[in-house]
Each structure stands twice: as C-alpha cells, then as structure tokens.
C-alpha cells in the first residue's frame, strides 16, 4: 500500500511539476506574443511613419526636385544613392524639415538608430517647421528610447 501511495505521490508531484511548468510556459508564450505584437506594431508604425515622411514636400522647387530623385532611389531600395541625394538637398538648404525627417528614417533603415535620433534632434532646432513636422521629428528623436 505504502508503495502505491509513494508511487501516487510521486506521480502527483511530477504532474504538478509539469503543470507548473506548463503554466509558466503559457505565461511566457503570452509575454512573447505580446512582445511580438508590440514589435509588429512598432514595425508597422515605422512603415506608417515612412509613408508620412515621404508625403512631406519642400516649398522650394529645387529641393523638391532632389527629394523626388531621393525618393525614387529609396523606392528601388538604393539607400546609398538616396543618402547622396538627401545630402545634396541639405547643402542647398539647411533648414528643411522634410530633409531631416527623410535622413532620420533612412538612418533607421540603415540600422543607425543613434544617427537617426541625432538628425531628428538637429531638425528640431529649425525654426520654421510645421507642427506636424515637429511632431514627427519628436517621434524619431525618441525612437531608440521606446
């Protein structure tokens, strides 16, 4: 009898152990999935942000022309050429929110979050930004803190 009781208690012990394990696992999965969905949201936000940034135009025709060239390279996935065009635009005018926003997003795509933040911070020092540009620049400024 004692033997059976011992066996039963052992089975119960192991079952409980496994059930505890299972419970823990379920919780982990939940955490992971929440985390994953957060990342997913974050990524989708970046895509959303990019679309918003690409919509921003310059009121200066030569800058806008260069931004169009940059965007065309960007759509084709040529990040180096996109960067060259954006730098070219920046040489012509240093006070354009749309250029800094594009540079900030481009740096994120290039995996350079610290630089993205710095471009956003530099953009935020410009006086004549629209509120929307300022808000977006703030999002990039806080991006790697989030």
């Amino acid at each position: 009898m004692k033997k059976y009781l011992l066996l039963l208690s052992c089975i119960l012990f192991f079952t409980s152990c496994t059930s505890v394990d299972n419970r823990l696992n379920i919780e982990n999965v939940e955490e992971v999935s929440t985390f994953a969905s957060n990342i997913e949201n974050l990524l989708s936000e970046l895509e959303f942000l990019k679309l918003e940034v690409l919509k921003l135009n310059s009121s200066k025709p030569p800058i806008q022309r260069i931004l169009n060239e940059a965007d065309a390279f960007w759509i084709r996935g040529n990040l180096d050429q996109t960067n060259l065009q954006l730098e070219r635009a920046l040489r012509i005018s240093k006070n354009e929110g749309p250029i800094y926003l594009r540079l900030a997003h481009l740096r994120i795509e290039q995996g350079l979050n610290k630089e993205a933040k710095a471009f956003a911070a530099k953009g935020l020092l410009i006086n004549n930004l629209s509120n929307w540009e300022r808000l977006l620049l703030n999002v990039y400024f806080q991006h790697d803190n989030s």
Binding site: K60, R65, L84, L90, I92, N95, L103, K114, L124, N138
Partner: protein, 766 residues
C-alpha cells in the same frame, strides 16, 4: 646520305614557316592579351565639389564669377559658345559645357540681390537648378604618369570619327589593317627622299605601334607592326579598333603627366567633355596627332592654328563642312583654356587628406589603375582665397616684424560647419608644393584654444555655473605632486581680481581658467574633450586647462566643429563619393552625426566667444559685420609665442589658422597679431552671404541684463551692463540697491489665447 638541294630548300622553307608561325603567334598573344584585358591603367581623377545654382537660394555673386573664371569660362558680350558667359544687370547668361548630370547649352539666371530668382533654358523653359562641371584638381598616377579619361562609344561625337578618318585613314572601313595605296604612296615619297620620311600607316597600324612598339622607324618594326595590325583587324570590329585608338593616342605633356586619349585631351585643352566639343576644337585635337609637341596650342599657337585651319580645309574638301562653315570656324580663336593642374595635383595639402581617407577603403594600386573618379568637398574658390590671404598677410607681417618671419610656416583649414565637409586646406606657406603637411601632421601646443572646452564643461553644469558666475583671477600657487610649485600667469602679467566667467573667457585669463578647471575636476573636463572629438590621451596636470597640450590643426578644428554645429559631432570629410568608369557609385562617405551636447550650454559658450569679437582678443570687426556673419572665435598663443592660433566662425564657415616656425623658435606673433589677421583677411575676401539664423529660440534660455563686473542683475539703462543668456534656473537673483532704479522690468504683454495655445503645443513637442 645525300641531301638534295630540293630537300634542303624544302626543309629551310619548313623551318622558316615554323619560325614565322611562332613569330605571328607571339604577336597574336600580345595583341589579344592587351586588347582583351584591361587596356590601360587609368589613374583615379580627383574633382572639386560642383557649384549648384538653384532657384530660391542665395549665392555670393562675386565668388560665383571668380569660380567661372577658374573653370575658364570667358566673359563675352554675347555668349554663344560653350564656356562663354555674360553678367549684366543681375542677370547671368551662361553657355554651360555640360557633363553627365548637366546638359550643355545656354542658360539665363536672374538674381535679386544675392538670391537666384529664376533659371531659364535658351528655349524659355524654366528650370529648378543647373550645375557647373566639377573641376579636375588632381589624380592618383602610376609611376609612368600616363593620364587619360576613358570614353565609351556613346561619348564619342560622330564628327570626331569623320575628322579623324578624313585626316588619318580615309579607307579605314575598307582595308583589313593595311592599305596598299597608302604604303605605295609612302614608299614612293621615301624613295624620292632617299630616307624614311613618310608613313603609310592606317589607324590600325598606328594603334598597333602605340600599343606594342617603340617609335623607332625600321623595316623589321614595320613588319611586326603590319602583322599586329592584320591580327587586330582579324580579332576586333572596326568600332572597337577606333575606340581603342581614340582612348590611346598621346596628345601632350603637362609637367610630369602625359595627356592621352581624346577624352582627357578635351578636358585638358578645352575644359570640356569630348561630346560637347565643336568641330573646330576637334580639328585642333586631330591636327595635333601629327606632332603633339610641334602643334601644341599653348606652346605654339600659330602653328597649331594653321594646322587646325588645314584640317578644316580637308573637311571642306571631303564635304563634311560647307565652305561658309569653314570660313566661320577659321575666324574662331583656338579657344584653349589654361591647364587645371600640371603634375599630380593643384592642391597638394588637400590631396594628402584625400589620399588618407581613400587608403582606408581602397588599395593604392586600384587608385592608380582603375579609372575611379573621386568627388571631393573642396571649394576651389575658398581654397584659392585662403592661399591668397595667407600669402598677403605673411608679406604684411614680414613688413611689420622684419625678415625673421621669412621662413614663417603655417596651416589653415576651412570646414563647412553645416555638415563637416572640408572646403579648403593649406599645409604650408608654399601651397603648390608637396612636403610636410602641417595641417595634418604638425603637433603643436594649442594654448588658449583649449580654454573654451574647459568653460563648456562648466556651463554644462548649469546649476553651478552660468556666464556671470564670478571667478578668481588672483595669484595662484600650486604644489605639484612631483615636487616644486607652479604659478600660472596671465598674458599681460597682471592679476584681474574677481571677474565674471564670460569675461575670463573673452579676455582669455589663465589664472581664472586654471582655478575653474581645478574646481570642475579633470574627469569631467576630459570627458568633454572626448565628446568634442579629441581622441588622443589627455594628461591630467593643471596646465592642461590653459592649453599646455599638443594637437594638430585638423584635430583642433574637429573639436571646434562640434561646437559650431551646436553639439553634434560629425567626423570631418574631404571625400564625398567615388564613381567607377561607367559612372556607377563605387563608394560614398556619408554624413555621420551624433548628438554629444545639448544645445543650451553650446549656445552660452558661443555667446561668450562672440564677445571676443565685440570686446575681447578678436576685436576688429564692426558690430554690423559680427551680426551679419554671426562670428565667434578664439585666439591662442603658446608659451614664448611659438604658436599663433585662431579658430573662428563666420556665416557657416569654420576656419582655423596656425602660424609658427618648424624649428619651434619664438616669434613676435600672438594669436591676435598673427593668425587672426590671416583669418580676418580671408573672411573679408570671401564675404560670406548673410547668415540667416533660422534656428528656433531655445525654450530653456532666458536673457538677463547683468553687470559687467559683479555679474549680478542689472538693467538696460544701467551703466556697464550686458544682456547675457542663461539656462533657465541659473540666472542671478540679486539686484544691488544701487541698480534697482535703472533696472526696469520689461513689460510683458498679456498673452493672447493663441499664444497660450502655442505655448502648450510647444511644451508638448519640446
């Protein structure tokens, strides 16, 4: 065994055939190896930045005209040829020569003051921007110094082929490498002259000769050349042969550099791309083939002109041009521009820096052979103006201080503070020769140039320090750990008592600065040095705070760049991008940026450094000029005046000047009497366009009137007062009784609802 004569002849013939076969195979392998592989070693070309004229931007017109002349654009009343321009009534008409990113043609640019109002093509079409061709400033050459610019079939104008074949080889498309008619004609002429006077070579034979043989004239060489020509024709198409010829021909010598191929010939003699040359210009180049030295248009313009006109006559005979065109073209001058650079480069010191940057990513052998095109950030006008100011000021200094300054050396660097691009660099007092590059390699004591970094460390800690914090500039005696004492002294050998922090900086007081440094401590100061971009090991002894520390000019301007760009660290760059022969992007050096400081303490520091111009060691600019260029800067003088430094900012340009002797002897120059004079002359000569401060006002900055002596609150109407920026919360709180009357608080208008809404929005997005 008896060998019959017949057998002997047969055997000899057989042997001869084998030798001939081996001989032909040898030449054949030479031909295919050379023409199938990399045809030529093509040196990398180095270019300046391109000048962009864009609608709505401001351009310094004086500088623009100077740049046009550097590009060999010629002022005409009616510009109708590539390279012509006119400038009347704020309107520029320019016939651009064109390049890959810019079509050639006539353009009209209208200005209103310095602003570009409109750009139109000659057909009236409105444009956003036009670009001048980049200026070739140097190259990376193989030891034989053979230089060329490879062109492809699409870059060769049809008229060049027509002229070339009319003059050099009329039956090119009919023969198979040799032209019997030409050979017989040459043979007849040579027999008449009893010497080898004339060649009957086809273009293919000339190519064979240029590629494989010496210029020695002998029958055996002629035979080899003929075999090689036949083999070339056997292996390659007519187009391939012509293109190889066009890229290969020798045209001229420029210093140690040999100019080869029509592509480079076009750039060297006309400053233009081959595709954009006119028939008369092409005729001149083709005419030069007969005797590159004899018909060199720069050395022998008359001979070159008659040779060109002779070619034009041939073109008329061959009905390539009409007789009217012939007459018109003969009236044109040769149109040759002065050479951009003769030997390796026009700007050796800048070239050193380009080489250093490139060596990190490219093998030296690739740079010398792969035909890369290196686009740099050099602004040729800034570079030329810098060299001119340097030379001019040195002459003035010699006049003032005597002949001991004749071997005074120096270095200078100009950086575009917006993005860290290096616009100009001088490494010695003789800017056109290679040698010790002081801008990059002279490690010198920096003196007071280091002080702003100590003050920045203090201002970062705004709860402890503001610009009006009082510092002690009385006698200081320090016991050194290794024994002995050190007593820092001021430049004027005086003690100044208790002084506000900003004054200690603009008057560059040593004792107050050492006390401040010791108060902050080495650790925090060194951290700030590192954040500014100083990467070398920094010692921790008290004289560090007043600059008994050695740096090179380039290291120093790197640190100041972080201040100029409001706390953003950006590695300085000489090179922008590198392209391959087919214009594909091979490599680029992107704008890197990292925020190292908040903008507020930098703002305060710049304010104090601007005071060096208003009332400190850099006086000499009018208030209007200071405002116009937003100047600020710092002088530096090392012990016994062995080094004279100045770093200053004006209208986006950050400029560093160093003067001193290579043997480190004492000089009569201080930072102010030496380097600052070069700086001043340079800034006045380039006259930067008005600095438009489009920065947002920093929300955490408050301006307060304070007393110049005690640093306590004062008022606009009080004597000896100054309006000083403070980080909110660091303002002085006390107004001495004597100043209460003259300190009238400015009336702040009541906020409208919209102001309040704006404030809330701003706070939200701050």
């Amino acid at each position: 065994m008896k060998i019959s004569l017949r057998h002997f002849i047969l055997f000899s013939l057989f042997l001869l055939l084998i030798i001939l076969f081996a001989f032909i195979s040898l030449i054949n392998s030479k031909v295919t190896n050379k023409l199938d592989g990399v045809l030529w070693t093509v040196p990398a070309k180095v270019y300046s930045r391109q000048m962009v004229i864009a609608e709505g931007i401001e351009i310094n017109k004086g500088m623009m005209i100077k740049e046009l002349s550097l590009h060999s654009y010629i002022k005409k009343s009616l510009p109708n040829n590539p390279g012509d321009y006119s400038f009347k009534n704020d309107s520029l008409s320019i016939f651009l020569r064109g390049h890959e990113d810019q079509e050639a043609g006539l353009f009209k640019v209208n200005f209103s003051k310095d602003k570009v109002v409109s750009i139109k093509r000659s057909d009236g079409i409105k444009l956003d921007l036009i670009q001048l061709e980049p200026l070739a400033i140097g190259g990376m050459f193989p030891s034989h110094m053979e230089d060329r610019l490879i062109v492809n079939w699409h870059q060769v104008p049809e008229s060049l082929i027509e002229i070339l074949l009319s003059v050099e080889d009329q039956t090119f498309f009919e023969h198979h490498g040799l032209s019997l008619k030409s050979i017989l004609r040459a043979f007849y002429q040579n027999v008449l002259a009893m010497d080898i006077k004339q060649g009957g070579s086809t273009v293919t034979q000339q190519l064979a000769k240029n590629l494989f043989f010496s210029s020695q004239r002998s029958l055996s060489r002629k035979l080899q050349e003929a075999i090689a020509a036949l083999l070339i024709e056997f292996h390659y198409s007519k187009e391939e042969i012509l293109l190889a010829y066009i890229n290969d021909v020798y045209l001229s010598q420029a210093g140690t550099r040999s100019i080869n191929g029509f592509g480079l010939g076009a750039e060297h003699f006309f400053g233009a791309t081959l595709k954009n040359l006119e028939i008369d210009q092409l005729s001149l180049l083709v005419g030069m083939l007969k005797g590159p030295s004899l018909y060199n248009p720069r050395r022998n313009p008359e001979r070159a002109l008659s040779r060109r006109n002779l070619i034009l006559d041939i073109l008329e005979q061959e009905s390539i041009i009409s007789s009217t065109q012939n007459v018109q073209m003969k009236e044109r001058p040769l149109g040759v521009v002065s050479p951009k650079f003769r030997s390796e480069t026009k700007y050796p010191a800048f070239h050193d820096l380009v080489r250093i940057e490139l060596n990190e990513n490219f093998k030296d052998s690739d740079l010398r052979t792969q035909g890369l095109r290196i686009f740099t950030n050099l602004d040729p006008i800034i570079q030329e103006s810098l060299a001119k100011s340097f030379k001019k000021t040195k002459i003035e200094l010699i006049k003032k201080y005597g002949k001991s300054l004749e071997d005074l050396e120096g270095a200078a660097i100009v950086v575009d503070s917006r993005n860290g691009e290096i616009r100009a660099l001088l490494g010695s007092s003789s800017p056109n020769s290679f040698g010790f590059n002081r801008a990059l390699n002279a490690v010198r004591p920096v003196g007071s140039l280091l002080k702003p970094f100590v003050y920045l460390t203090a201002l970062k800690d705004y709860k402890r320090y503001s610009l009006s914090t009082l510092l002690d500039d009385t006698r200081l005696t320090l016991n050194l750990p290794e024994g002995g004492v050190w007593e820092p002294n001021n430049f004027d050998k005086k003690f100044h008592g208790i002084v506000p922090l900003h004054q200690a900086l603009w008057d560059s007081y040593n004792i107050a600065t050492v006390r401040l440094g010791l108060d902050i401590g080495y650790e925090d100061t060194i951290k700030v040095f590192n954040s500014l971009g100083i990467e070398k090991e920094i010692p921790n002894y008290p004289s560090l705070f007043i600059g008994s520390f050695e740096m090179t000019p380039i290291e120093m301007i790197q640190a100041y760049q972080t201040i100029a760009s409001n706390g953003f660290f950006t590695p300085l760059r000489a090179v922008r991008e590198i392209r391959g022969i087919g214009n594909d992007l091979a490599f680029s050096y992107p704008y890197k940026i990292e925020q190292r400081f908040r903008p507020e303490p930098i703002y305060l520091l710049k304010f104090a450094l601007q005071q060096t111009f208003v009332r400190g060691t850099a006086r000499g600019f009018s208030k209007k000029e200071i405002k116009r260029f937003q100047t600020w800067g710092k002088t530096g003088t090392s012990n016994d005046q062995r080094d004279s430094w100045f770093v200053g900012y004006a209208g986006d340009y950050l400029v560093l000047i160093w003067l001193g002797f290579d043997d480190n002897r004492e000089s009569p120059l201080t930072g102010r009497s030496g380097s600052f004079q070069v700086w001043k002359d340079f800034i006045k000569s380039i006259n930067p366009i008005e600095f438009k401060d489009n920065r947002r006002e920093l929300a955490r900055i408050n301006n307060e009137w304070v007393d110049l002596k005690d640093g306590l609150l004062s008022g606009q109407d009080c004597k000896n007062s100054i309006s000083v920026p403070f980080i909110k919360g660091s303002e002085p709180l006390v107004t001495p009784d004597a100043r209460k009357k003259c300190r009238v608080k400015e009336k702040i208008p009541e906020n409208s609802i919209m102001d309040k809404v704006r404030k809330i929005l701003e706070d939200l997005t701050e």
